[in-house]
Symmetry: C2
Subunit: 101 residues, 2 copies
Amino acid sequence: MIKVGVFYPQSEKFDWDYYLNRHTPLIQKLLAPALKKVDIEKGIAGGAPGTAATYQTVCNLHFDSVEVFQTAFAPHASAIMGDIPNYTDAQPIVQIGEVKM
Amino acid sequence: MIKVGVFYPQSEKFDWDYYLNRHTPLIQKLLAPALKKVDIEKGIAGGAPGTAATYQTVCNLHFDSVEVFQTAFAPHASAIMGDIPNYTDAQPIVQIGEVKM
């Protein structure tokens, strides 16, 4: 099992309504049935007292393998990436992680 | 529900055996029963082809609330933080996130 992690650094704009109600359903539709699960969290505080979270939003997309993700994502990459400016001006960091636990 | 995310940037040293078999059981013991779940992933690739993951390791600790986490963590902060140099020289980024999905 792998996760595709998408980390959005703090920025001026993040439209949670659009993100949860339009962008997320879009990726769920386009990446089905390869996409097993979506986790989304809103950064509310940093580790040190009084600090902000480094990432305003963290999203994790769960797939069975890197190959399954790539095969599902490739035909829809433009539609998915092109939708990002509709809800944020942040440039997300993306990485793939192997689930260990 | 909240997650405490611990993101370890790439560094020289990360002892996976120690981390999974000694550090993680230590925090599970010290933070029980407040700690509901631990997710751990190993960064294997960045978002762009041929790039490395920004974070070599990502850990998420799940708690019912920020208050529950802080109450459980405070008495054991030194023991937990003091164990980090035993498995890595990375300086982890820590943040608290509210689970939205």
